[in-house]
């Protein structure tokens, strides 16, 4: 029998980036908040320090900061005719664990979506005809516009201390920034990172082809910066260890370094780590979540935490799983197309390439993801899709560096994988590779979804979440098209040799590709097309708010974090302005 605790104003399920952001905003408004985190605390001054943080084996190869698959995982299959099997250890994507969550180890690519991305279904119909969208492509307009979200994108920039160069300031286009982006109300808080040699070459080649290169926006401060909460941030040191690690310089945005220092001591906030939430307690009549059930993994005791506001801020999979196992909303059925929880699961469709330059000295260990150059000419609706046979697109990024040596040793195609010849080629090309990537969109398809697995269980005895996903013809065509542009850029750079790496036909759960999973608790304009409304409030439980990329109707050709952050601030603002005074639905169904 669970011990019932005293009611609080708000409870966060997951103290990752959005959980910490919401907790901070709520406590600043005077609410009493409890943060439940199933993983450990993360203490930057103890853990994110030199020299221990520079251990590639521990953090990059053994994925120290990721969720423990023995406690909880998901099952996977490519199509609904197959039997799903558990992901026994994370690989294709890497959900994080502990305070700060997945944003502790992000690469820092800090993007806004295009204004057209938010009304993509309408834009495609307007431009290419009412019947242009194939029947199995279940893309939707977002219930919120770019202009509405802009102030919250700006606030998120200033929480992160983001580095970059504006290409559109209040409608004025600025050469050197992204001229395709929506109007920004302000510049980036800190200047763009200095470009790596490879990025400079990529930009020159792109410009020669008539494209519009600009420095990659980066969710880290390039100079010392004080964020909106008064936390003093360091500057990026171009260490090359970003991708699966926290930041020793307190520059890359994360909850432990950017929010927790000012949230931790707040008497209105209580952090409970190793608190594994198993269920939302749902009152179907009242359409409310009265509280959450969790197990204290340090004692084995079960608790019920009642709360006026419940914020579901787990990773994409945890959010969807929690609704399905708590009986909130109708599970999606791909055969009938009915039901909404688990619908429109999307991924990110990345495809890389590597070019080798005999006479360059590219110092592959110096760098950060933000020191690369990008073109956005072939993203979303930035280009005409007439006659191309697909919708969507993505940005193209290129540069050198940013990888320690277990994982960062590019050699040309055809090189042996071992032996003296391998060694010779590895040394020969170590300083000479430039890497490219295409950040392709995934447009929702009715065959790709999340539901409950019939066989496998997690350590609390709950059935696992099941992912059914494969790349669609549309997304493969999009990806091949982006790679033709990469091919043109590489040729213009005149490399010694190069390798394009198109995606395999089937999505595979190894090796690592991207942690950009989206969808499952999609937002929309009515209970008939979505799980939550434009303020991230569940249609079926008016005190339940869902954070993160599980809210996306589909995934544009950018990294999701910028929009995850903007949506959290947008929801926090509405909750504090209106919901707290008059609890109830913020949008009438």
């Amino acid at each position: 029998m669970a011990t019932k605790l005293k009611e609080v104003d708000a409870v966060m399920i997951g103290m990752g980036m959005t959980g910490a952001m919401m907790a901070k905003e709520f406590t600043m408004a005077g609410l009493r908040v409890v943060g439940l985190e199933r993983g450990p605390d993360r203490r930057p001054h103890e853990e994110s320090i030199l020299p221990r943080i520079r251990d590639e084996l521990r953090y990059v190869q053994r994925i120290e900061l990721m969720q423990d698959n023995s406690v909880d995982t998901i099952a996977f299959r490519n199509s609904s005719g197959q039997t799903a099997l558990p992901i026994r250890r994370w690989s294709a994507f890497l959900p994080g664990e502990g305070v700060g969550g997945t944003l502790n180890h992000w690469g820092g690519m800090h993007w806004r979506y295009l204004p057209t991305d938010f009304r993509i279904r309408s834009v495609i119909r307007e431009r290419y005809g009412a019947s242009a969208i194939p029947p199995d492509m279940t893309i939707e307009d977002w219930p919120v516009t770019y202009d509405e979200l802009e102030p919250y994108y700006d606030r998120f920039d200033k929480m992160c201390g983001a580095a970059g160069k504006a290409g559109n300031l209040k409608g004025r286009k600025i050469d050197g920034g992204n001229v395709f982006e929506g109007p920004r109300s302000d510049e980036y808080p800190t200047p763009p990172l200095k470009s790596s040699a490879g990025a400079v070459l990529m930009a020159e080649a792109s410009r020669s082809l008539g494209f519009h290169p600009f420095p990659s926006p980066f969710g880290a401060s390039s100079t010392p910066y004080t964020n909106i909460y008064g936390v003093q941030l360091g500057r990026c040191e171009y260490c090359g260890f970003c991708g699966r690690n926290t930041c020793e310089a307190n520059a890359k945005a994360s909850a432990p370094s950017h929010i927790m220092p000012v949230l931790r001591g707040d008497p209105r906030f209580e952090l409970r780590t190793h608190a594994f939430v198993s269920k939302l307690i749902y009152d179907r009549q009242a359409k409310k979540v009265t509280g959450v059930l969790y197990t204290d993994m340090k004692t084995g005791e079960e608790y019920e935490q009642p709360a006026n506001i419940v914020v579901l801020s787990a990773y994409v999979f945890g959010n969807t799983h929690m609704l399905l196992t708590s009986g909130i909303g109708q599970p999606y059925d791909p055969r009938t197309g009915r039901g909404l929880v688990g619908k429109n699961y999307c991924y990110q469709f990345e495809a890389p390439a590597t070019a080798f330059f005999e006479n360059r000295n590219l110092n592959p260990f110096i760098g950060a993801p933000g020191d690369r150059m990008v073109i956005d000419d072939f993203n979303g609706e930035n280009f005409d899709h007439s006659g191309l046979g697909f919708f969507g697109g993505g940005y193209i990024v290129g540069g050198s560096g940013a990888a320690p040596p277990i994982g960062g040793r590019d050699v040309p195609p055809g090189t042996p994988a071992w032996g003296s010849q391998w060694k010779k080629e590895t040394v020969r090309w170590y300083y000479r590779a430039i890497e490219f990537n295409t950040q392709g969109s995934v447009y929702a398809n009715r065959a790709n979804y999340l539901d409950i697995d019939p066989t496998y269980k997690d350590s609390l005895g709950r059935p696992l979440l099941r992912l059914t996903y494969n790349g669609t013809d549309n997304d493969h065509a999009m990806s091949r098209y982006l790679l033709t542009k990469v091919d043109a850029i590489i040729k213009a750079m005149n490399p010694t040799t190069y390798e394009m790496r198109p995606r395999p036909r089937n999505f595979t759960i190894v090796p690592y590709q991207s942690t950009h999973n989206t969808g499952g608790t999609m937002m929309g304009t009515s209970p008939g097309n979505s799980v939550i409304n434009r303020y991230l409030q569940a249609w079926d439980a008016s005190n339940l708010f869902i954070m993160g990329a599980s809210t996306f109707p589909q995934q544009p050709g950018y990294n999701p974090t910028g929009t995850v952050g903007a949506l959290a601030y947008w929801a926090a603002d509405k909750i504090l302005k209106d919901y707290v005074k008059r609890p109830g639905p913020l949008v009438q169904a």
Binding site: Q82, P86, I87, N361, I366, S420
Partner: protein, 242 residues
């Protein structure tokens, strides 16, 4: 141990011999079970070779790993052999670690083969995987060449690895290609990881590549070294800062 590790191995053994009965027994025992690679050992990398007995590897497993890491990373003008770089020590410690015991891995059944897209589906931990895999590889080697893998000459060792890599070797009840992939991966980790984990002795692979190691704070060096090689006299590892 810091001073000792700078001595060439035979000097260390001599020193250990005078250090008392326990040290001498340890050193003697070690000398007895150290595999003979047949390849000339290099100077510095050998300094701290096999100072401690293996944590989990049996003599057969140690001999197998020594032979295979020396084939994957042969001694040549660029580096000493895999064994002399500490790869076997690294593998031993990794297989004895929480990771080697299957930590943070979902290990509930049912166990089903699945599709290649569904990834690793065996109940075996990394340690169990290599124990079973080495038995299968040596059985195959005996059948094919009449000897276990470590008793093969350099040409046959390479030929065998090539067959496993291509999936052309039929191991009994074991996936030879998957075995090769994991063997290659853990060997490369041992060669390139920070020396704190027992491999990459004396930072040999970092010197070979020109990887400067720590502290990796380059904000003030990006402009100066754009398209110019950034070279340090001595790469720095975690231990150098500790």
């Amino acid at each position: 141990m810091a001073e000792v590790s700078k001595l060439p191995r035979r000097d260390f053994l001599k020193a250990a011999g005078t250090a008392g009965a326990t040290g001498a027994a340890m050193a003697t025992g070690l000398a007895g079970c150290s595999p003979t690679t047949g390849t000339p050992t290099s100077t510095e990398a050998n300094a701290s070779a096999a100072i401690q007995p293996p944590l989990v590897l049996t003599p057969e497993e140690e001999a197998f790993f020594s032979a295979s890491v020396d084939t994957i990373i042969p001694a040549d003008e660029l580096s000493p052999s895999g064994t002399d770089c500490g790869c076997v020590t690294f593998i031993d410690r990794q297989l004895a670690s929480a990771w080697g015991g299957g930590a943070k891995t979902y290990r509930a059944g049912p166990f089903v083969k699945g599709t290649p897209e569904q990834g690793y589906q065996l109940p075996l931990t990394p340690h169990q995987f290599f124990v079973a895999g080495i038995q299968a590889a040596n059985e195959w080697s005996r059948k094919t060449y009449g000897k276990p893998y470590d008793a093969l000459g350099p040409a046959q060792r390479a030929e065998a690895l090539t067959a496993w890599e291509a999936g052309k070797a039929e191991f009994s009840s074991f996936d030879s290609r998957l075995f090769f992939q994991r063997l290659l991966q853990i060997t490369m980790e041992g060669f390139f990881a920070d020396p704190i984990h027992g491999g990459n002795r004396n930072k040999v692979s970092w010197r070979m590549l020109g990887f400067p190691g720590l502290p990796a704070t380059y904000a003030d060096k990006v402009d100066q070294y754009r398209d110019k090689p950034y070279v340090v006299d001595e790469p720095q590892s975690i231990a150098d800062f500790s």
